[in-house]
Symmetry: C2
Subunit: 197 residues, 2 copies
DNA sequence: ACCTGAACACCGTTCAAGT
DNA sequence: ACCTGAACACCGTTCAAGT
């Protein structure tokens, strides 16, 4: 067999196709954009595209993977308080949604809910992400910022779920109310994590 | 013009089609199920279907409408504490997700994020729902159950967003962890609403 | 009035033919 | 090796023809 001789070309073509696909998917959704649209956007023929991706589902999986990784990167700036760190991360996510990725995030959710293999792949990211978050919360507990009665792992999961819920609600119904969502989440996180009397 | 002479037949056919469509959409998603599948499931020809719905988008809109209304009904049993009321409602939603509606809920979200008309229609439901919730929280404040410093409307919005976030996360990654989601939400709501020292 | 099913332009995917 | 574009079975939608 002699397919895909040059790894550099292959990688370049894959990027070219994924960039075009992301653009289309954002606007019209996974299952409303046609392969022809992707081909046109990527300036490539249908036959050429299928040398680099076996199916539309494969492209969707790659985009979903990138989207999730993208959402996970932002959680390094844990210098300030736990609350500030969480809010910074949340704002990064809200900004992405406000920029037009709300529908894409919902698409990924829907896809993962129906495709166990994709769900498992995304869950791997998610676990890492939750654990990083839990670590920050645990550190906040030893500093006395966060109620020691909370289970850090469960608190991290709950807050990440809340971020997604608040963000998706704003993206669906919102007047691009990025600030409103951020304020809502800050209030929730502050009261949830607070040391109780 | 003489189309649709009998309202009873029309209503019966529309139900027949929507029931079949809901079944298909749950399993395969809005844009992966074909009209042929809906026609087969409804035991009706393509031509007949198009007498009662103008397009696939119209069927999707009707299903999304029903789905949202369905999620909104459960909030009457406000006898116990505010927390109990909220948790009862959350559990109703979680049960729906665990029964396999997780992907459908995500589909509706994605559809609404791209279709402003659908978004506005769903927002009407949502507003009523938020206000009912806010009223319960307000009543909790006068009973001393809920911190009077909270804005009832914002608290209602935030908690409803959190319910959706927690539920969708469980539905996407979860081991059908209905109980885990319920416990997570209860912890969040208790701490969020609590009167502070 | 109500329904059927073949027909239309278009979808995802394949593959012979080019370079 | 890499690409093109016509061809395949199927998609959403329409409409002449039946009852």
């Amino acid at each position: 067999m002699s397919r895909l001789a040059s790894p550099e070309l292959a990688e370049r073509r894959r990027r070219q196709i994924l960039d075009a696909a992301l653009d289309c998917f954002r606007r019209r959704g996974f299952h409303q954009t046609s392969m022809q649209e992707i081909c046109s956007a990527a300036d490539i023929s249908a036959g050429a595209l299928y040398r680099y991706f076996g199916s539309k589902a494969e492209i969707i999986a790659a985009i979903a993977h990138d989207e999730r990784q993208d959402s996970s990167v932002v959680f390094n700036a844990a210098n300030g308080t736990v609350i500030d760190g969480l809010c910074l991360m949340a704002e990064g996510f809200f900004r992405k949604l406000a920029a037009g990725d709300g529908a894409l995030v919902a698409d990924v959710l829907a896809e993962a809910a129906r495709d166990p293999i994709l769900a498992r792949n995304l869950a791997l990211f998610d676990k890492q992400y939750v654990m990083a978050c839990a670590e920050v919360i645990g550190a906040g507990q030893v500093r006395g910022e966060v109620d020691p009665a909370l289970d850090p792992l469960e608190a991290a999961e709950t807050l990440l779920a809340a971020i997604k819920g608040v963000g998706l609600r704003a993206a669906t119904f919102g007047q691009t109310q990025l600030d409103g969502a951020a304020a809502q989440f800050r209030g929730l996180a502050e009261r949830y994590l607070a040391v109780r009397a």
